[in-house]
Symmetry: C2
Subunit: 578 residues, 2 copies
């Protein structure tokens, strides 16, 4: 708020000057009282000024008795997971009723460091969606891989005073926190100094360890998996998020833990939603709707997705429909069976109707984040796999999650010791190629359960360091896929017998594209079909997302980084040979 704006709002509230807009006959959802009331809502200069009363407005919009609901706040998401630029992401989620997101740009920062953060700040500055960022706390996620950047406390210090940065992003380094690692404490210290939030990431952390983690000032968690865990975390002071992403879907698991006592500490988030998921289901409104359809009081669900998030992150200018608040809201006919906005308003301007954005957001040129592909010395020879034994470790894909099994198998090798692919055995080769610093680093391992019979799939999305990951039965297709990604600056591609079967270009850091959501969804749908029909990837898994998580060395059991095969259970590298 500024003095000038306050003066204007007061003048308008008191009826001495005209409002810009009045929404007539609205059933306003009051999240402060978990109820609703019928009113005309007056808006001036993008803010709500009051209800009913003796006022005039330059324009009016008849809500015809529809519910008028504060815009939803997605309390934790990674925009990169949508594959879309912030502008295109805005055009995609705003029609779903999301008007504010709190985004952790740790994917792009793992690739581009502060250039990635600068891009996300700039590209999300002048779009309808309000984007607040959390400074990524764990770049790289682990010391067991090469990421594009290393962000330290000093970097945080340079950015955290920015009013659009609300604190420190998900602190995945739980061991570092509870062991009191000084480098971690130094990062937390920047949040202490500024009084800003620290988001948590505490899957299955309970009891004494949770006490230590919370004592460090960490105030949210979006990794809860059971009602008991939710209740303990709320009891100990955390805001707990009901997450409904593409892969991780916790709303129904957690709902039994939410009650009349603790609902005020519950938020909704999407974390990671793929473009197709947003297109098919919606954004954070999907999780809210799911909760309502499964018994959560609609007013409580709406308050959690608005006021609770605003309170948690200190966003005093939004989260409710009341005088002085930002006029971000939507109209919808019903709230009892789930929530699908008919018309969405941002700053008091109609921006979306019937699920479509009315005017495209302005895109920002992705300078310094385009085509981040510094791969040196890669050739087919880099894919050589000579385990040194017929008895080997294999990464066992487990459908429906990102955990893998620590498998073993007996394989065939040629006279030079090279692994030989065997039809019908469903064992393939997996390789990770470092792409950030031209180190020439790469590593190979064997993987089971992908289903593909012949060909190769490669992607530059490989959490969290986002090196190139490629899977295949033969080195020619694998090398061609890798070379393709290098040439286009990243994306997802599939090859078979030297033929390119389909490519999804992700020219922004190898993670996102400035293309339209429509094209992205169309392209990915076609590629999914091809992966299933031509490559015969198992129907039980997503061919691309599964691959994305095979390099994440924080989730058990075996994962492959550019440094080698990693056993997450013992936190050490292991050989392919057993």
């Amino acid at each position: 708020m500024t003095k000038e704006k306050a003066s204007v709002l007061i003048e308008t509230a008191m009826g001495r000057s005209d409002a810009d807009l009045v929404i007539r006959n609205a059933e306003v959802v009051d999240v402060y009282s978990r109820s609703s009331f019928r009113a005309d809502v007056y808006i001036k200069d993008g803010s709500i000024v009051g209800f009913d009363g003796d006022r005039k407005a330059k324009a009016e919009h008849d809500a015809k008795g529809k519910f008028l609901i504060p815009g939803f706040i997605d309390a934790h998401c990674h925009i990169e997971s949508s594959h879309l630029s912030p502008a295109e992401f805005s055009d995609t989620v705003v029609p779903c009723g999301t008007t504010t997101v709190i985004a952790d740009p740790h994917e792009i920062c793992n690739v581009c460091g502060l250039d990635g953060l600068d891009y996300m700040l700039k590209a999300s500055e002048d779009i309808p969606l309000s984007v607040f960022l959390m400074f990524p706390s764990c770049v790289p996620a682990t010391p067991f891989e090469h990421s594009g950047a290393v962000l330290e406390a000093g970097d945080i210090g340079k950015y955290i005073d920015n009013p659009r940065i609300l604190g420190l992003g998900e602190m995945m380094n739980y061991p570092g926190v509870v062991s009191g690692d000084q480098k971690v404490i130094d990062k937390l210290g920047e949040a202490y100094r500024t009084g800003k939030n620290i988001d948590g990431h505490a899957p299955s952390i309970t009891g004494q360890g949770l006490d230590g983690y919370i004592a460090a000032g960490i105030t949210t968690d979006h990794e809860c998996e059971t009602p008991q865990e939710l209740q303990e975390k709320v009891r100990k002071g955390m805001y707990v998020m009901l997450r409904q992403g593409t892969a991780c879907r916790n709303v129904l698991q957690l709902l039994p833990g939410v009650n009349e006592g603790n609902w005020r500490r519950i938020l909704f988030c999407t974390d990671d939603r793929q473009p197709q998921t947003i297109s098919e289901e919606g954004a954070v409104n999907y999780g809210v709707s799911l909760a309502i359809r499964n018994g959560l009081d609609p007013f409580t669900a709406i308050a959690a997705a608005t006021l609770n998030a605003a309170e948690c992150y200190g966003l005093k200018d939004r989260g409710a429909i009341s005088p002085g608040k930002k006029a971000d809201f939507f109209l919808t006919s019903s709230i009892s069976g789930g929530i699908a906005p008919d018309e969405v308003f941002i700053d008091g301007v109609l921006v979306a109707a019937d699920g479509k954005i009315l005017e495209k957001a302005v895109h920002t040129e992705p300078v310094n984040v385009r085509g981040r592909m510094d791969v040196k010395g890669f050739s087919k020879a880099s894919l050589s796999c000579k385990p040194g034994s017929d008895h080997v470790r294999v990464i066992d894909i487990i459908p429906g999650g990102v955990v893998t099994g620590a498998g073993e198998a007996f394989i065939k090798r040629d006279e030079s010791g090279e692994w030989i692919h065997e039809d019908g055995k469903d064992i393939l080769k997996l390789a990770v190629i470092e792409r950030h610093h031209g180190t020439g680093n790469s590593a190979v391992a064997l993987i089971r359960g992908y289903g593909m019979r012949h060909g190769a799939v490669a992607t530059s999305i490989a959490h969290d360091s986002h090196n190139i990951i490629v899977i295949g039965d033969n080195d020619d297709d694998m090398a061609a896929a890798v070379e393709k990604l290098i040439s286009i600056g990243g994306g997802i591609t599939m090859f078979k017998d030297g033929r390119e079967l389909g490519t999804h270009v992700l020219e922004i850091a190898g993670l996102m594209t400035d293309d339209t959501a429509e094209n992205v969804v169309k392209c990915l749908a076609a590629m999914h079909e091809t992966a299933e029909n031509e490559l015969h990837v198992s129907k039980e898994i997503d061919p691309f997302m599964t691959l994305c998580f095979m390099a994440l060395p924080v989730i058990p059991s075996y994962k492959l980084t550019d440094c080698g095969l990693f056993d997450v259970r013992s936190f050490q590298f292991v050989s392919n040979a057993l």
Copy 2:
């Protein structure tokens, strides 16, 4: 939080170093979930580190199953109303379970300006009670009187960044806000600039005017009088306080307005509690208890008095019992019939037991605020009352409140036109003498309903400018009382036939004393007895508090300032003669 402290808390939470204290077998009240749970609570360096687990502690305290409740936060009070210095106030309210107060020092600032603020900050810095201040927004309260100081936006700017100043105090100038008065907007601007709170003061303000007031960024109100008003204010975004002071007692009035939907926006406060009231009833715990005894769920009442207030004022380090929070709490056997603490802990140290403080707080020398009595040219002649007519206006005291009636009467005058006191008519003379700047200003009027037959009562507490106010039937006693106050630097005194019947010395700004609460209560009790028995002041009114409010020109109908008789209804001065 600091990095060093975080490291210590983590070490202790994880059991690698010993806690300072463990409270065993506590029934911990969980305000996040409105429930309780049995646990051992570990404390280190004044903060809670966790529950149960594998830890050791240097000392232990057996709670024997008692409830362990976060220390109460009094969301709005004027310490000056207790007549006590901050140290003595701390010793008085802490045993009642109040561990944090948000105080508006506008009484002392009306007398001493920024010297008063400096004193309150310093005197409350190193005492067990946490005292946060709101910068007084309305000094003076009106332009119709002479106060000791005028505080402008520039003064606010110098202080508002102080972390112990949480924002702007009760904005009593409602007309100034909704008319957009630039001087008022400039004051609000300091809160906008820093993102700090602005407390409201909006008695009976509803509808469009309330919209305008809230659009200006005002977020609390403690002047609500009906459940409907409460519900409208919450709906429009305010935190509403259930106030239980000495004179203003709104808890029972407002309770029907509090429900399962809106309780999270409800706070408790005392506003103005006289020393005897605290001594007899308690502090903010009294209002909480009253609410519980009248049907409010105890967990809801406790959450309102703790977490809600902490959230409202952004006090992230307190308001709940969870890891990292300040170890301010108390133990009590029962919560269902009201709340009386057995043992109170601050920063994890036992500071009060069975209603008594264990160690006296350290007092601060009241420099620059002592004996503020700059009265020039006062004599008996200053009290002359010559209305110019037998038909006069009289201030009609209405028992039970601070509103007065606009009375009229026929009086007797001597040959010089001087008013003559008539026995049995209960009309007395009231005078206000400016005491801050030696202006020589004084004014007289007639008042009815005080009951006193003969003598004079004077006090230097006279809201909000705190000039000297004196009531009496004869000028000799009145003058003697005024002279007495001048000589001692302020207080309350009674004279009859030239004899001093009793004096309560308030040497700090004429409002407070550094004496003990015990002595203050004893002195006031004796004075009340004398006022009733020797002066025959009406039993329906408090002889001193009634007087204190007769100079407050914001509450109808007639009030007397040092500038003359004021008709609050028409907002203008009027003559004594009709």
